[in-house]
Assembly symmetry: C2
Homo-oligomer: 456 residues x 2
């Protein structure tokens, strides 16, 4: 067993909350294994969000497909002294055999709308809760944040994810690259995201490369000679404008040898003023083809400001703010039981009441193709509008092959283009998007409330 | 290969930024492989933090110990078309052979203080950067957040981590449980954290358990009979005070059979008012031994308010705010080159200048044992005070066995007890803790600046 053993255990079903198992033991004890319906949704969008972009479904389906307790998992459960031995033994045979309907990744959604619906025997539907939320929240957060940056950058600027180091752990860093790509980024610095998802990777040098050399000029030249096709030079280690002048000098020196410097990167100071000064230095010296990339503390607001101020940059490297969704690092998202044994269920906890039953989201469009409003209704209610949840898993078997990531990314772009204008602007809209509750759903909620009062 | 294949790749050295590899290729090309010194530090503490608690070192040392490129990793690098074949081949032999000095986990530290120092051949010291920051930032964030909650809860209340579902991915959820335990939490709901780290686990039931039953009373009874030793009942699904009355009724019914209800949990509404009302109902009915646990949207400020308002609760379940460090979801932390080939180095980028050389932190104490101030100096400077960085790895070999987690947790508690009073209060202190820069370090920085100006 290696020292980094924890990595080999992250796929264990024991990566869950203990209460999933204590509840399951009670269900087995009582024999409650009828069909349950759970839905994943965001109760209320974060303060700084007009919309969310769904992401993480592929990983959720993979998790459900691979779900099983191995001997090692069961042995660890025995050591907790919290559960019956016979119950633990029974887990060896447990698989996920249910149905899943979901909004495809890259779909825009709003508060209270079910994004994923699971229909399965109660123990199976319950046991997966923790990882369902864990997998869907994180990528949805990052895809939504990335989409805001894409809107701020007006579509034609290159956006690259630089955030792996500041992501919360290894899986978060990898998934951030995937989610950012879905949300409209052009690539990532994360090598593993290229290997696993085919996302374009970008990267040249850090300040340490310059600092390790005794001379900045020498560092630039060494790098160009080592990477003739990948020459973006970082010019702000000591003095940005001096750095730009060295780049000009080097470009002239290397040109006869066939080397081309493709760009420079500025990572500190007043990015707009620096970029304008550098652009002037490059242009006046016949280096108009050398592009400028900026990075350092960027987010959608700063990108919008830089674009508005006319920054002569063609690329933005975004790290921390993207990879932790810094202004909204979590969602008020839940995975709640809505029906058991054919009877709709509803939680009435103060401030946390839910809509019962199996639901569908019906989207209505304006004549120009933009979203007008959504209706949350019951799956079997005859309602107009485009139903957003589609079948993605039946009987625990995924429908052959994951959706290509490029298709998801295209869907996300089309969805962002169809956002009502007031929602696609960066400040949060005064009027949130209209989401109606259908008559059928309201009537069902009333019946559920009456029934609970009668029974208890 | 399983569907959840990404989990099998998170340990790959390809989970890094592309620029680490492009820089490495240039270093190989030029033959730059002299000894480099890098340090990890936080430039400026987040707005809402008086201090940070170091965590994540064990995982970093494990990562360095296991570091190697396997055939699969090299093959993936070839497919990127970004690097020389000969360079990729050379990576097969790469190991981490350097020295590491670090503040032990559970040590309180402040801005600009080196927390980890790496001394290794330049390519090795550089290549690990991304994961060094990724591993140290996340646990340090959570341990620090947990410590604030421990201070708010005054030491005698039970704090339990409920946050796995809202953590950013699997590794973050697991590490959050570990870091929270270091910071003073009493346990976690995360089963895998018990398996891997021996952390006590807690957990009983979710609202879905109540909702799946037709009657709340029946749900309570079923659960008690299934888990006679683990009976904390969730009473806010429909009406909290009604729930408490049912618990009383059930306690009377089950007592003759030898069942004991240990506690109730309230997860919504006005937690303080609800807990007081429930306490009254329980006490008036002879159920004074049944404890009250609260959860739902808790953080250090809310816990402090609840404690100040005299909430009759003995336990707090904390999820989201802890596991994403919601008010400070990232650190302005970096891993920077400070010396190469025996020559100290310094970055001068606007707003991001660093202190050069191999450094040590010297802590000074008041007579009552609390921290007075720290001095950042050079390792070989003859300075008073307790040196905080200690040797933890020599020549790539860890010093036999990880530090027991219980020792780390005790150290953290002792450090929190030694905080100056103004820093242990929740609002951020007007006066930050005093951290001085030694004369020797200032003089070195000046010499470095003069040298760079001469050379360039």
């Amino acid at each position: 067993m290696s020292d980094t053993r924890w990595l080999e255990r992250l796929g264990s079903p024991n990566l869950t909350d203990l209460y999933q198992l204590t509840m399951l033991q009670a269900y087995r004890h009582i024999g409650m294994d009828d069909t349950a319906v759970f839905e994943f949704f965001v109760r209320k969008l974060p303060e700084h969000r007009n919309f969310m972009l769904a992401a993480g479904l592929e990983q959720l389906l993979d998790y459900l497909t691979d779900f099983r307790f191995e001997a090692e998992d069961l042995e660890a459960l025995r050591r907790t002294d919290k559960l019956d031995g016979a119950f633990i033994d029974s887990l060896a045979h447990m698989r996920f055999t249910g149905d899943v309907d979901a909004m495809p990744e890259g779909t825009v959604f709003f508060g209270d709308e079910p994004v994923v619906r699971v229909v399965a025997p109660l123990p199976e539907a319950q046991l997966i809760e923790t990882r369902v939320v864990n997998l869907l929240q994180m990528q949805t957060l990052i895809a939504s944040k990335a989409a805001r940056m894409r809107l701020a950058a007006h579509g034609h600027q290159r956006l690259v994810d630089f955030g792996l180091r500041r992501a919360h752990g290894s899986e978060a860093g990898l998934f951030a690259a995937r989610a950012a790509w879905i949300g409209g980024f052009d690539g990532t610095a994360t090598v593993l995201a290229h290997e696993l998802y085919g996302i374009p990777i970008f990267g040249t040098m850090a300040h340490s490369f310059i600092q390790a050399h005794d001379s900045e000029m020498r560092a630039f030249e060494d790098f160009c000679r080592s990477q003739p096709e990948n020459t973006v030079l970082l010019i702000d280690t000591y003095d940005t404008e001096e750095g730009a002048r060295k780049v000009v000098e080097l470009a002239r020196k290397l040109e006869p040898e066939g080397f081309t410097i493709r760009g420079v990167r500025i990572d500190s100071g007043d990015l707009c003023a620096s970029a304008k000064a550098v652009r002037r230095i490059l242009d006046e010296s016949g280096c108009g083809d050398i592009e400028i990339m900026v990075s350092g503390g960027l987010n959608e607001d700063r990108i919008a400001d830089l674009v508005a101020a006319g920054i002569p940059a063609t690329g933005y490297g975004v790290g921390t703010d993207l990879d932790v969704s810094a202004d909204a690092p979590y969602l008020d998202c839940v995975y709640k039981i809505q029906e058991y044994a054919g009877i709709p269920r509803r939680k009435k906890s103060s401030g946390k009441a839910t809509w019962p039953g199996r639901k569908q989201v019906f989207r209505h469009y304006r004549d120009d193709g933009t979203f007008d409003h959504d209706v949350i209704g019951l799956v079997d209610e005859p309602l107009d509008g485009e139903p957003l949840l589609r079948p993605v898993m039946r009987g625990g078997n995924p429908p052959g092959g994951a959706e290509p990531l490029a298709d998801i990314r295209e869907r996300a772009a089309a969805q962002l283009a169809a956002l009502p204008r007031e929602l696609s602007l960066l400040p949060v809209a005064a009027e949130p998007y209209r989401v109606d509750i259908s008559e059928g759903l309201r009537a069902m909620a009333e019946r559920v409330d009456e029934r609970v009062e009668e029974k208890d």
